[in-house]
């Protein structure tokens, strides 16, 4: 299996905390600093609370696959033919139901991906950046 290698564009600083988390070996998502409610992906405005401040919070590395697909033809801009196939996962952490983090399935020899499969987070280094990887747990 391959790994997608597409540059992380952080001209928009809204997502920096996620990649800082990967560098620290954590999955971090955004919550309302006052209420603790998850708001993921980080919105420009928290619904109904334009003055609300978001902060980054680490979530459980354990969770399950909400869904997945194995990409055979990459549609990413540029030439990514050598990076397929890879299986992309929408991962739901155990302590953040409904929050979904996109990442790739790793350590999956002999494993058939499935919705609901138990997974554990493991950051994956790709070129000069990291992405979220999820291994069968």
């Amino acid at each position: 299996m391959g790994i997608p290698n597409y540059p992380v564009h952080l001209e928009d600083p809204s997502f920096q905390g996620f990649y800082d988390g990967l560098d620290a070996g954590e999955l971090r998502v955004t919550v309302d600093a006052e209420t603790g409610e998850f708001h993921w992906y980080p919105p420009e405005v928290v619904p109904g609370r334009p003055d609300a401040r978001l902060e980054w919070r680490a979530v459980s590395p354990l969770g399950h696959a909400y869904t997945f697909t194995t990409v055979m033809r990459s549609l990413l801009p540029g030439d990514h033919k050598d990076e397929v196939p890879y299986t992309v996962i929408l991962f739901e952490p155990d302590d953040a139901p409904g929050v979904r983090i996109a990442g790739v399935l790793v350590d999956d020899d002999g494993v058939t991906p499935a919705c609901g499969m138990r997974l554990k987070f493991r950051p994956v280094e790709v070129g000069d950046h990291k992405i979220a990887g999820f291994a069968p747990a």
Partner: protein
């Protein structure tokens, strides 16, 4: 609720649907518009209203200038996407304008050049949340989004490969008897299985076509339509549903990613029309992908929730079936001019005379339009 049977689609027109065409969007919109205006028995100078889809990229004055129109009295831009814009929202705005006396004949043009650089994926690449959090993980492009929905749907309701294949094979069977369809070559299960996999479980055959083409229609009052040579095809029901999820989170963060506001739009449309799904003679369903057409078939009430794969596998939507669907091949085999070619096909079927693909005694047709976070259901009736 809007009133039923007040406006009619008086003219329809389209360009050829091509895998790769030479004309730009403006030329295709103009060509389709002139055909629709002539079909309505009108002259370009009779057009005094315009509904423009913002994704077409050309304002109404450019269209008006290109067709040689007269005084513009009304124009509006839909901010819905996909089929919701062209086969739902545009009709609602047209009815409001005509009933208010703002104009008499509204032109709704649309064209797409899928082969332009960046193609149909560029729209998603511009979303900051997708670019920042999804694209580096390789979660990108409509086939990938909808493939992930298909896997979740199969997890919840079950779907074999044969059942999944039945939907594109059904639409191809209709395209095979539609002279203007872009893909008319036969598709059996072996041909389906030979189709390249894009993102599991979606093959090329499960995806809408890449099309350069345009379509247009004219909306007028029912009173005007009665004086035309064509049978009157009136808007009997119209419903729109919205879920308010921004495009940046639409394919990953909704509680159920394959849920669209189609049940809401269908309920409104059936109530306005005063009919139930059992009264329909045929339907046109926005088929960006097999999975999106499956769930909309359920949302229209044409089969039970979770049963659309078995519904198609039983042949119910095929030529001669109890509920013909996408009778010109839909977007997956007929051509992908989002939403508008489905509406045009509905009008042609209700007028009658479509040869081998004509649905006998077609009087009521539902058109489901999907725009992602919005959905339309339109019910057209031959009066």
């Amino acid at each position: 609720m809007m009133q039923s049977g007040k406006i009619a689609i008086t003219g329809v027109g389209e360009t050829p649907f091509l895998r790769k065409g030479e004309e730009h969007v403006m030329a295709m919109m103009t060509r389709a518009s002139l055909a629709a205006i002539a079909d309505a028995g009108l002259k370009p100078t009779d057009i005094d209203g315009y509904i423009i889809n913002k994704y077409a990229g050309h304002p109404s004055e450019e269209i008006a200038h290109a067709i040689g129109a007269g005084q513009k009295r009304f124009s509006a831009v839909t901010d819905s996407a996909g089929g919701t814009a062209t086969s739902g929202d545009a009709l609602r705005l047209a009815q409001l304008a005509i009933e208010a006396g703002l104009c008499k004949h509204v032109l709704v043009p649309y064209a797409i050049r899928s082969t332009k650089p960046g193609g149909v994926y560029a729209f998603h690449a511009r979303e900051p949340q997708k670019a920042g959090l999804e694209m580096p993980a390789g979660f990108f492009g409509q086939p990938t989004y909808f493939a992930s929905m298909a896997n979740r749907y199969a997890h919840e309701y079950g779907m074999t490969e044969e059942e999944q294949a039945a939907l594109p094979m059904t639409y191809r069977a209709w395209a095979a008897i539609t002279p203007s369809a872009q893909r008319r070559d036969p598709m059996d299960l072996a041909a389906y299985r030979a189709s390249p996999m894009i993102s599991t479980p979606l093959r090329v055959a499960d995806c809408c076509l890449t099309t350069d083409g345009g379509g247009a229609y004219v909306v007028s009052s029912v009173e005007y339509a009665r004086d035309l040579a064509h049978p009157v095809v009136a808007v009997q029901g119209l419903g729109l549903g919205y879920n308010n999820y921004p495009h940046g989170v639409l394919f990953s963060q909704k509680p159920c990613t394959f849920e669209f506001p189609g049940r809401e739009s269908a309920a409104m449309a059936y109530a306005m029309a005063g009919i139930s799904p059992a009264d329909l003679d045929l339907a046109q369903v926005y088929d960006g992908f097999t999975i999106s057409a499956l769930v909309q078939t359920e949302m229209l009430g044409l089969c039970d929730v979770g049963e659309a794969p078995r519904f198609y596998a039983a042949g119910h939507a095929m030529p001669g079936g109890k509920m013909p669907i996408n009778t010109s091949g839909g977007h997956m085999s007929g051509g992908y001019v989002p939403g508008i070619n489905l509406l045009i096909e509905a009008v042609r079927q209700l007028r009658g005379g479509e040869g081998a693909r004509q649905v006998p005694e077609a009087k009521l047709c539902a058109i489901a339009g999907l725009g992602g976070n919005n959905h339309s259901t339109t019910i057209l009736a031959r009066m």
